[in-house]
């Protein structure tokens, strides 16, 4: 190795060292700039039931199948109607629990009589696919006690929720991880 060559290498090494230091410095300042605004707590995806338009994308766009979105029932809000439009198909011939009369494609809602003309509707989450058909019926004709929520035992927390990207109403957004549900009225964990 000639001395000239050696000197050249040294110059390169110095240049590289300087640039490496500059890059490290800018990385440090980026960290400092962002760390001041950073939160320790994470965030999770959730559906705002007031923005949801029940388009059905939740059932099909989730990276999981069946979707991480399920219907939940706010029992405090439910009118216990005998003829529930979250339960019955509008074209139902009879108001009984025959499969052809039910709106839910998977039969995930169980209907039971409580007393007099009041009925109880319970969702079997294992069957629910999050299509929102019942939510549409209940919101249009009833009290809106059925609504969709992302269930956090199932959601894998994609950095970009595939349903959020496809949601026509922009109803899915990140919420603080310590309050992971957007509940209707009196529902509280």
């Amino acid at each position: 190795m000639t001395p000239a060559n050696q000197e050249k290498l040294t110059r390169r090494a110095v240049l590289r060292g300087g640039l490496c230091g500059a890059a490290a410095l800018s990385l440090g300042s980026l960290t400092a700039a962002l760390a001041r605004r950073a939160r320790a707590a994470g965030s999770v995806w959730q559906i705002d039931p007031d923005k949801c338009v029940r388009c059905g994308n939740c059932a099909t766009y989730c990276v999981l199948q069946p979707s991480a979105v399920k219907c939940v029932h706010s029992f405090d809000l439910c009118g216990r109607c005998r003829i529930c439009f979250g339960y019955f198909d509008p074209k139902a011939g009879q108001y009984d629990s025959g499969a052809e009369n039910q709106l839910c494609p998977t039969g995930a809602i169980a209907r039971g009589r409580i007393e007099k003309e009041f009925y109880d509707y319970r969702i079997d989450e294992r069957l629910c696919i999050g299509c929102g058909k019942c939510v549409q019926g209940c919101t249009t004709f009833g009290n809106g006690s059925l609504y969709l929520q992302i269930r956090h035992d199932r959601c894998v927390q994609c950095n970009q929720c595939a349903i959020a990207a496809a949601c026509p109403a922009g109803a899915i957004s990140r919420v603080p991880a310590d309050r992971p549900y957007l509940l209707k009225t009196r529902d509280r964990p």
């Binding site: 190795m1 060559n5 290498l9 590289r16 640039l19 490496c20 890059a23 990385l27 980026l30 960290t31 962002l34 760390a35 605004r37 950073a38 939160r39 320790a40 707590a41 994470g42 999770v44 039931p49 007031d50 338009v53 990276v63 199948q65 069946p66 029932h73 029992f75 405090d76 809000l77 009118g79 216990r80 109607c81 409580i114 007393e115 009041f118 109880d120 209940c138 919101t139 009833g142 009290n143 809106g144 956090h152 035992d153 199932r154 959601c155 894998v156 927390q157 994609c158 950095n159 970009q160 595939a162 990207a165 026509p168 109403a169 922009g170 991880a177 992971p180 549900y181 529902d187 964990p189």
Partner: protein, 452 residues
């Protein structure tokens, strides 16, 4: 505030509340008073992952990066690197489902930088910074054995062919375009491009063991497997195509790599220029020595001067190009698309409504408000498009400059930007083999050597 104005406000508030209550269908039928025997079912609200779990993920990331750097630079063990790669694939890929990854975290950082009101979770920030800091310290050891996307491709590169140099350089530019577009779209709140087109995340989630881990019947969407299938098919013959030609984090690493403080070397000692490692790298990252390279110094200098002079011109050209496609770019934002649709419906140029326009009418937000938002966004996309274009012009210019440089290498060296620190070349170096007490010549065709 005068009492009259306050009363008007109060009336307006009550009216708004009534309307919104009707809109969401609440209390149309009064919930009945039920007998004392009736107990309403309890709805349970399962919690998500606990906070400590995300810190555990970060600790795993840091540990894997440390281990990868140690194994590549100190222990120089391809076998151990492969073992670590499998572990990373199992944990970050199949177990954790591939989110949040440092590649996708680029977008969170870009979005947080662009919008001061947006807070970024510390864990996400650290997910991005850790591999970048390591790249600056020890080169692309993240790519070598930590990234699950790299691992899938690395394991499936069975018959790698040599990609011609010019094609390697040209295709490598794609990653910068992808990085620029992803940063722009994330910064302006339009989309998370990298996540939407993540090559293997669907594969990770399809795996039954990942589903069992989350308690049951989950499975990925099969249509999402088209992209991984295509990449795997290409990857059988072109080793790690995503890493080399598309990965946005790889693009950042290629910029930082040449500046790295330490880097993996082919030989543990002095290169004896035996040429045995010449074809060892399936990624085309091994550079030959330049020692007594013939060439016209004056011509090379002229070429470098021309490339340097071209740099600003390319940047301006790129900026103009980016500005010219501002309207097309702005349609990546859902609000701009919605505003265009609503305008068409308003003027009768479009029949019917879409789910998005329905949702918009339901909010009772004035159209003018949406149009104003869209025009603000278009203005931002005009600036952003120009910046993106200038960046791409600079990238092309910098590539020309780097191709006109006369590097000086006394032996075979890994290219600090393109080298993935995978360690395949170690076994080809007779100096290394001597150190290990192995026979001097490697068996022919090992490690998917491209035919010379």
């Amino acid at each position: 505030m005068t009492p009259v104005r306050a009363r008007i406000l109060l009336v307006a508030l009550v009216a708004a509340l009534t309307i919104s209550a009707v809109a969401s269908g609440e209390e149309r039928y009064r919930p009945p008073e039920l007998g004392p025997d009736y107990v309403a079912p309890r709805v349970d609200w399962p919690a998500g992952r606990a906070a400590w779990q995300q810190w555990a993920d970060l600790a795993a990331l840091a540990a894997a990066l440390l281990a990868a750097s140690y194994l590549a630079l100190r222990a120089r063990s391809r076998a151990m690197l492969t073992a670590l790669m499998l572990l990373s694939l199992a944990y970050f890929g199949f177990w954790r489902g591939g989110c949040v990854c440092p590649i996708g975290a680029i977008q969170d950082v870009a979005a947080a930088l662009a919008d001061p009101a947006r807070a970024i979770p510390l864990a996400v920030l650290a997910t991005f910074l850790l591999p970048v800091a390591f790249a600056l310290a020890t080169g692309r050891t993240f790519c070598a054995a930590v990234c699950p996307l790299g691992a899938v491709q690395d394991l499936l590169a069975v018959r790698p062919v040599r990609v011609p140099r010019w094609l390697e350089h040209a295709l490598g530019l794609l990653a910068y375009a992808y990085l620029g577009a992803a940063v722009l779209l994330a910064a302006l709140g339009a989309a998370y491009l990298i996540c939407q087109y993540d090559p293997f995340v669907a594969l990770f989630r399809l795996a039954p063991w990942g589903a069992w881990a989350r308690g049951g019947d989950a499975a990925g969407r099969v249509d999402l497997l088209l992209l991984p299938a295509a990449l795997i098919a290409v990857g059988l013959f072109v080793a790690r195509p995503y890493c080399r030609f598309l990965c946005p984090l790889g693009a950042i690493f290629r910029l930082l790599g040449p500046l790295s403080w330490r880097h993996v070397t082919i030989t543990p000692g002095e290169c004896i220029r035996c040429r045995l490692c010449e074809n060892a790298c399936p990624f085309g990252a091994i550079e030959p020595p330049t020692g007594d390279r013939p060439g016209d110094l004056r011509r090379d200098r002229r070429r470098l001067g021309a490339a340097l002079a071209l740099l600003p011109a390319l940047a301006v050209l790129g900026a103009l190009g980016g500005w010219a496609v501002r309207n097309e770019l702005s349609r990546a934002h859902p609000s701009v698309r919605l505003a265009e649709r609503v305008r068409l419906e308003e003027t009768g140029q479009a029949q019917g409504t879409t789910d998005a326009s329905d949702a918009f009418y339901q909010t009772r937000r004035p159209r003018a408000d949406l149009y104003a938002e869209a025009s603000t966004l278009r203005a931002r996309f005009a600036v952003g498009g120009a910046i993106l274009g200038a960046f791409l012009g600079l990238v092309v210019g910098a590539k020309l400059v780097s191709l006109s440089l006369r590097p000086s290498r006394s032996g075979y060296e890994p290219h600090r930007g393109r080298c993935l620190s995978c360690g395949r070349c170690f076994a080809f170096c007779p100096v290394e083999r001597k150190r290990r007490g192995l026979p001097p010549k490697p068996p022919p065709g090992k490690n998917g050597t491209p035919d010379a």
